[in-house]
Symmetry: C5
Subunit: 362 residues, 5 copies
């Protein structure tokens, strides 16, 4: 699990040594950080009537699947590339597919192979208090009667699907493996809306804070949200194409019965894309608002300064003149000189106030 402080996260997704330069294709290099001690592999078997589940550490559970049963392997932790390979090769995964599973920098995509289909996408959560966007790469491999999922860390992204399977709620238990793959992807994308909801709350807070008084943190928060939305956009726009290809049943393992559901899923992906774009526009609008707020405040500060200075600087000069020690200054000898000067000074003040009001500075 990578909990990247967002302020560092837009660029912190690329590990220092991305891949071994010039390595032969199919070389498996885990490009993420090791976040778990041992790899957890969860195996679930089910059909309309039965539901079994088992967990192993750093090993692949042994299996005896009857006909008409769907097997779902859920591997969490990817640093053990041998384990990834031995599970993958059991179901005929191509070396290039295995390389992509452990490379967490993949663009969302669907790639069809002879014996299966690989779907890759990102899971998101946004922690508003810590201002962190959590990004996790998830790979869903669909083979005959089998689904293998690969998650970066131990947190379960698929809890609600697991519950539906256990409770036999909805049609999920009586459907083939491709429906499970759909349900898993749908589950991840449902979570996008939760993350976007958090981001929206942050935008609301931000807007309110700018309206009241722009603070030091404001511009950092705007920057932070820009980067979070940039990251989500990067991942959601290729998703559209991926879901499109999924829905077109491009591979023989994807049945026509699943198509209608994937079309509905596509609607959701388009909504995500729209929301991300809208929030980007809102963020830019808030930036403009922030800048114009600062300008407006500076203008108002300047006016105050100018009014005060412009009134008192000439008056101080006059006072200075009559504070001079020349032996002969006729005005000083006038009996009412002091009061006449006050008259002159009040007149100057009055004229200036009138002029400032005309200039709409007051």
């Amino acid at each position: 699990m990578r909990l990247t402080r967002l302020i560092q996260s837009a660029t912190s997704n690329i590990p220092k040594v991305r891949r071994i330069v010039g390595a032969p294709p199919g070389t498996m290099v885990y490009t993420g950080e090791r976040v778990m001690d041992e790899v957890h592999v969860h195996l679930t078997h089910y059909n309309a009537g039965t539901f079994e589940t088992s967990t192993t550490l750093d090993a692949i559970p042994s299996e005896s699947v009857g006909e008409g049963t769907v097997a779902w392997y859920d591997m969490r932790g990817l640093h053990n590339t041998e384990l990834v390979e031995s599970l993958g090769s059991k179901y005929g995964m191509h070396p290039l597919a295995l390389e992509d599973v452990v490379d967490i920098q993949q663009r969302p995509k669907m790639e069809g192979y002879d014996e299966g289909v690989l779907l890759q996408l990102k899971a998101f959560s946004y922690f508003r208090d810590k201002r962190e966007l959590h990004v996790e790469q998830v790979s869903v491999y669909l083979a005959k009667n089998t689904v293998i999922t690969f998650q970066e860390d131990g947190g379960d992204l698929f809890a609600s699907v697991r519950k539906r399977l256990k409770n036999a709620s909805g049609r999920i238990r009586s459907r083939p493996a491709d429906y499970l793959a759909y349900a898993l992807v749908d589950n991840i994308i449902d979570n996008y809306f939760v993350a976007l909801d958090q981001i929206e709350e942050s935008l609301d807070e931000l807007e309110a804070s700018i309206m009241q008084e722009p603070k030091m943190e404001t511009k950092a928060l705007i920057h932070n949200l820009k980067l979070a939305l940039l990251t989500m956009r990067k991942s959601s726009s290729p998703l559209r194409e991926m879901i499109g290809r999924f829905g077109d049943s491009e591979h023989q393992l994807i049945g026509e019965d699943t198509q209608l559901f994937v079309r509905d899923l596509k609607d959701h992906v388009i909504q995500v894309t729209d929301l991300v774009e809208t929030y980007r526009d809102v963020t830019n609008g808030l930036y403009d608002l922030y800048v114009s707020e600062i300008s407006f405040r500076m203008n108002s500060v300047m006016q105050t300064l100018t009014i005060v200075s412009t009134i008192f600087i000439p008056l101080s000069f006059l006072a200075g003149v009559y504070g001079m020690n020349f032996e002969y200054i006729p005005e000083l000898r006038q009996p009412n000189g002091y009061f006449m000067l006050w008259g002159v000074m009040l007149t100057i003040i009055g004229l200036m106030l009138w002029w400032f009001r005309r200039k709409r500075w007051l």
Copy 2:
């Protein structure tokens, strides 16, 4: 009815719990706010010769339609999802369609099913005084001889169509159900122009206020209008595609006679899109104008300050010099010292004024 203050509305459209994450597809969750106590269902029957109407609360009116009659159910209030389902299932609405009807976050779209066509779009009104954009999702379901409309709240969006039906004005009473669906959508889109007219008035006011004197509220109003236009754009651009598919008679329930009218409707939708884009450009232009106005004012304020300070600060210094109490300052003993100093100071003032004029600061 959601009357969102616009300053909060760009982001306030997404309810806190958007949908139950990982729920099976077809789960009906009303994602809006409950704005009515009871659901109103209005049923209208008509053909060229007859016109009947009836209303029920929290129930579906019983019906006995003869041949050649069109039935129009108009449900207002969506929180009672069972009622939505029982009405929908009577006309064979697909579970995914029912889910979409109660999810008020839908993108405008047309979706064809075996037994009907679902059209979804937003209705807008802009309240200039309160600076509120009211957004309401409307679903129009077209089945054989039947149209079902779903509105979020009790206000009637279709008053004028209802009047045309009652008065048998125009060709509407003698046309089939698809023409009614067209007329209802056309009615909603006619209202877009009314909302845009209000926005335009606000733009005019805004422009005038910037030209006279930018105020504290100006930037908030610009932001407000940006968000309103953003919201309208989000809904009007997918409308183009929806109307296009409507006009192409993609479904057997849409007759060829209606096509020419839908083509005219498409013209209107393109006009809406154009206007929204134009107003967005105008709003951006007003933002630039506002910023340059502030800059210009600050420049002019600075010049005033600089002129006054630059003239009097050196003169005050001179006055200060001759206010010093040194025992021996030869100038002070000059009989005409005071007048000579005035001469020097007036010369300095003259030179400065000449220099400011040359720099075009005066």
Copy 3:
């Protein structure tokens, strides 16, 4: 004739009550302002050998056209919708076409009907002194041997075509009605270049004024030109498509002989689009120039202020110190104290000047 002051015109094109909301399609509502007392209808008959012309007020001239003669009706003023309808229906104009003719908010377009073709576009003139962009909607309806033009106001947009017809100059008299339609559209588009020329002059003036000294009006003029170009762009980009369809002879009334001329016309429309885009870029460049000019000036003003203040404020402080009335201030008793202080002060001035020069503020 609408002579909109441009500063109001970008938004002033939409009349308060745009159309009757929910009115049946084909309802004719004139959406412009009534600018003429009576509608003028000009009828021109011509063929290679003859040329006749007549004018009526608020009536349609009676007509007796021989074979091989082209009839051109030119109606000016659209508020009398019955007159529009009775002229239109004489030549089989569709109700939707008639509705569009009197709705001055049409996007430029070509629409084909069974008995004719409707071309709609805007005519522009720019009045540099008044800073007004005049926009007028023109509809050209082509039927068999007949052309009907609809103008909003009494000013003649087609004077030069009329002259060519009268003088029998060029091939125009011996060509069919579609060539006349082409010539009329070409005439309107020729005028775009005249308007753009005026705008270009304004851009030149604007540039010169920014270079010399940005004034209060500058930003308003930039805004004004932006809106004018926005309006022209809105109308010129759909023109490209309209002329393209015209040139493709999509309708049987448009002959192949006219095609080559329309292709040439398309070149002109592309030039207009290019020019509008270029002028928009130039305008944006001028805005940047204006903003940076203001910034530069403010920087230069600030430097002056800073130099003067920074030199004299510490010196004034020193003078103030020796103007204090403490009973015992040793320096005041020094016989050369005054001259020594001058020495100190001149040294401070010198150091500051040296430092400012090093900072390149001088």
Copy 4:
């Protein structure tokens, strides 16, 4: 030859009377400025073995071409439209083509006619010292065994092709007329790189000057370069399409042997487009740099002013207080009052310096 000072040139390309509004198509109006007294026509005859050349003033040279010889007419100066027409009609140029040749506002394009092909494009040179972009329209008409070129002014754009012909270097003398047309266009486009090189030098200078110290001229130079690049972009992007059509041998006069060379030429045009876009981005980057430089400087100026003022204004106030002439001010009677005040003042200075340092203003 138009040597437009760039600061005026973006808009100065459109002559005051662009074309006679409403003139019949094919009307020849020279829209440029008359820059030569007499039109020069250069005729060159060549084949693999022979090479002949002759020049006339205001007349078309008489000609006797054998079989297998290519004739190249090069007309410089376009104000004599009769001469243009008599040369053009000799080789069957269409009236619309002749109209375009003398209208110097053409977009780069290729237009095929029955008897020939017209290629039109712009030639550029950038004079760095004078900051002038020189734009000249060149038309290349290809007929059977004949090429006619039209240049606006007397300067020879084709000197190097002429030299290759004379020296019989390369394959040019033994190739047909279409290869000559290719070579002429290639020659013009080679010169684009020279102009871009000059612009690049200006960008380098500009960047250096901004880094050192932004000057008054800087913003004018940025504006100047923006306009130059805008002008070049306007002409280079349609060039891509033109060369594409040239390379597709759309006309029977363009042989397949020339195709490979035109494909290479297309590469160059794409490079030009890329460079222009890159330089535009660089120019925008320089504008940002300039603005942020000014902001940075102002910030630094403000800090100096604030530090000096904030330190000395309160101190001057204190000095002023003890310069007052109240009869009873106890501090003034303190024997060490003067020195105690200096202590207080130095403490204030110290605290302020510490505070400024904490705020990172020092």
Copy 5:
């Protein structure tokens, strides 16, 4: 090897004399700088069983290749155009291909000829400490059983492929020449990620420095990174098309077995494009952050100045008034005048502080 300081590099890629204007096509002109004394040519022969390598200076190594052996010539240094030509013509390279090899300004592209395929692209490295982007053009020519690579300078870009060949690791030794070409291009693109990693580090540093305190260099570094990313974008977007054509096996020399690998390579190129775009957005965001940081600081500086000045300027005026030497100033004679004045002044200070706090300036 060109080690261009980035601050000069965006424009420094175009040599002063780019190509001889008007030279015949196929003229070989080396447009780079001569960075090596002698041209190094490395020849490698291999098949599944054997591996031989030899190096020559300024000469082409003699060769005796058996059947089923792949020959790889690697030429470093391109100034000796005769050597390039004699090596190229040995394998039937077209003159236009040779011209492109020595012209280092090529856009990335694949060009097919009868006897071979030419792939051209850029190699990048970014030196963070020196802020230099090193760009080198690489040409890969694929002929039958033969690959020729052309590098600008002596540094070896293909070290890891060479090692894999030597160690017979992976499938590379048993595959045909097209696989070698793929592996070489893959090697170059792997290095893009290394360069992008360095750029990302710079972005992180930059972000941290802006957050702490914007410095003089900040804006130069932003500009620097913008230019680096601009340069990379210019080269990576046409790469997509090139790899696409490579992967489509458009030429008979590219076998189907290589296709799957090239598809994987295309994924990487898209990742590069995405990253470059993302980093450009991040850079723009940092620019905004920088500008708003400066604005915020200036606002805060201004407030300090205003508070101090606004408080003390009126007080100094009052002190000045009572420092005047009028013979009769009644207040001065008040026994408690001095203390009453202090009371007045402290009241003024209090009121101002209250007012500033209300205005949220404190």
